[in-house]
Symmetry: C2
Subunit: 437 residues, 2 copies
């Protein structure tokens, strides 16, 4: 095979290369594609992923396709947009080039919207054994693993061993951990006893382990407390002030000596910025984030920007950087696009100001917590708000329709038909059930 | 880990072990579960697969979950049904035991509904390089490969090499080959030019290569001819009387010296029975099928039956065995269940008689061919019939609804949003695009 070539044609307009098709990159590409630029959007996948609903894919509540959207379909009518499915390996800020697995590319402006990945805080063993949930592929792997372990539990006669298969430990009490715990608890209550009549589903223990002293840190005290109450009502065992020190595939070791038996740990305890070679050392700060000024310009290099989860910006109201959430990403993308416009017109740029619209998390059927800037509420109405905000944030009418039908179906039947252990087949793979997924 | 144990409780009723959850096994399990038997259903997957629509999954027209249904959900309310997700490795007919990867199990009656797999007719190289489509995993792998190759084509400057990526050769002119060819031709016409504006989609060649002298052998001459006409109108290059001798990953070699450049061959040229160790040699006949009498009893052993694609039965009207289609499987399952009932009541069994309801195939939008016993028709009305027959054969109301919405959506928009290269992620897999899928 001859060498690949990223094959972007020369154009009269300035070229902006956007790395990453998440909330930040996608929104920027959308705005810039309507302006006088050649836009090159690079992502490892050919689709945008709606991260807030990964956990429902992992819990067999939604198909992956409902929360993904093909990048090419989004930009079908924008002739100035070029999509490349590849990995950026390096940035050369002196020559203004990005290096990718498909070859090199010059840029006039480079925007890094490369997001964050799971942070195992340097523990190699946990990284190897625990299940993260930061890509749809990981969510699918977790779904397969959970279902596979329940299948195995049925044919496992030894009590201790069976407990290891059916119990689940979730590490991290943020929105992801809370939402996963709620979904698992409902699965235990409504679905598993019907599917696995041979198991005693009462024996299934779901642990939510949080290092700090409350759940949903960063939300209001009312939200934290209600989330805790809701989860406890669903039977989730919550361990606060419990720092996980290790996980060997059989036991979770908690600082102070306690250990929990489980062969399955869902790791939602932290994230760290994705890395790209070639940026000045001083621009990489705490959590692997890239330090930017109020215009999202990377400190110390010309014509390079960072937006979204990867960007670390100090605003007076956010002296330690913004929360790594979709709203910040979307707002930064929009402000950056506007700043490009302002600069082109010879006007000064406007520094980014985060407009905090609030935060929310759902804890299963009829239960959610919502913090709006002036108003906090919990329970059924919060849950309805959560549903609609997520539904309308999805990209694609058909995705919205399918997610909506799935939710309604689920609500009334208490039962999905998505509990499928599907794997694309390697062509030469023997069709035996693997020892471990 | 201690030894697995298939862990089926003893029961007062006779135990029937059904191997395979396809059309035959599933229908039999359904009937037998309403009778006085303990039913053990063994499958490698935890779901039933609707094979007739695999090709739409491979062509990114349907989600896999829409054509699959979890076995456990189907039998939630049947306490006498035990489902085991494992592989049967051997049958011991003398001791009346099946050996599985989870352990051994005694049976009173054994029913093999193990179906068929792709037949590469002994050509190892083709088996390694071509893409079969006999499981949903294989359909997904093919979908990923097709999309991946179009991505690569964009960044491939060399003309010859690019042709290899965009051209597709389908081998086999049966219903699967015809339906895939039609779907690919429509993708080329309606979707690819919108997604891949950088490619010249006119250059995409779709070949349908058939060893015999007509398409849809086994259907009427009118159906064969119309299918050929429809495909030609869609731009498919049909090669009849063309026997594929080899495929090296770059060229397809046809008997007589012709060769076609393509790195992608979809192999739908034949099937062979899946194998299970332990049956008498003389019971395995042509095509790897298991020889059965008119009661579907395997010749030469007691209390072992075979139904569906794997069964080879000579009926006066079908002296060379039945066609390997869903209707035969379903009807044999029903007849066998009734025969168990008759035997239990001391009545003689009734030999199986195949009631041929007809055959059909679709060739894209508005076009299908249908042969009913007394009536043959082609075109739009045939297509409507095809749609409804397939829709109502699906298991699960939600699956029917989702497939229906997908079809209607597709019909009016000419465009799906399912062109996603999704892979469950191995936990330690580097997130680079692989050289080859």
């Amino acid at each position: 095979m001859s060498a690949a070539n990223i094959n972007i044609p020369d154009a009269p307009q300035p070229r902006v290369v956007i790395v990453g098709g998440g909330f930040a990159g996608l929104n920027l590409a959308d705005k810039m594609s309507k302006m006088n630029y050649q836009v090159v959007l690079i992502d490892k996948n050919n689709f945008h992923q709606f991260q807030p609903l990964f956990y429902q894919v992992a819990m067999a509540g939604l198909e992956p396709s409902s929360i993904l959207f093909p990048l090419r379909k989004l930009f079908q009518k924008r002739k100035n947009v070029f999509i490349r499915v590849t990995t950026v390996t390096k940035v050369n800020t002196a020559q203004k080039r990005v290096h990718t697995l498909l070859g090199e590319l010059e840029y006039d402006f480079l925007v890094l919207a490369i997001g964050a990945d799971t942070n195992f805080f340097g523990n190699e063993q946990i990284a190897r054994k625990a299940f993260p949930m930061k890509t749809v592929g990981e969510a699918l792997t977790l779904r397969n693993k959970i279902l596979y372990d329940y299948e195995r539990a049925i044919t496992t006669v030894d009590y201790e061993e069976r407990q290891g298969l059916i119990d689940i430990v979730i590490v991290g009490g943020g929105p992801t951990g809370v939402e996963v715990a709620g979904a698992l608890a409902e699965m235990k209550k409504y679905i598993l006893p019907k599917d696995y009549t041979e198991l005693n589903c009462e024996e299934i223990d779901i642990y939510l382990v949080q290092g700090g002293n409350c759940l949903l840190k960063g939300m209001s005290a009312e939200a934290s407390q209600k989330a805790e109450d809701f989860l406890k009502k669903l039977g989730v065992i919550i361990k606060l002030n419990a720092r996980v020190e290790d996980f060997d595939g059989k036991f979770v070791y908690i600082k102070g000596g306690e250990k929990i038996q489980s062969n399955k740990v869902i790791w939602a305890a932290g994230i760290k910025g994705n890395t790209v070679e070639g940026l000045p050392e001083e621009s990489i700060v705490w959590g692997g984030r890239i330090k930017v000024d109020r215009d999202n310009k990377v400190v110390g290099v010309a014509d390079v920007y960072a937006i979204g989860d990867i960007a670390y910006m100090e605003e007076p109201d956010f002296p330690k950087g913004h929360p790594q959430v979709a709203q910040v990403a979307i707002q930064q993308a929009k402000n950056l696009a506007k700043n490009f416009n302002r600069t082109a017109k010879g006007k000064p740029t406007k520094p980014f100001v985060y407009n905090n619209l609030g935060a929310m998390a759902t804890i299963g059927r009829n239960r959610a917590v919502v913090d709006l800037p002036r108003f906090k509420f919990q329970g059924f109405f919060a849950w309805i708000v959560w549903l609609f905000v997520h539904l309308f944030s999805l990209i694609g009418m058909k995705n919205r329709l399918f997610v909506f039908i799935n939710w309604v179906w689920n609500y009334f039947t208490y039962d999905q038909s998505l509990r499928l252990i599907i794997r694309p087949k390697n062509r030469h793979q023997k069709e035996k059930i693997p020892k471990e997924i």
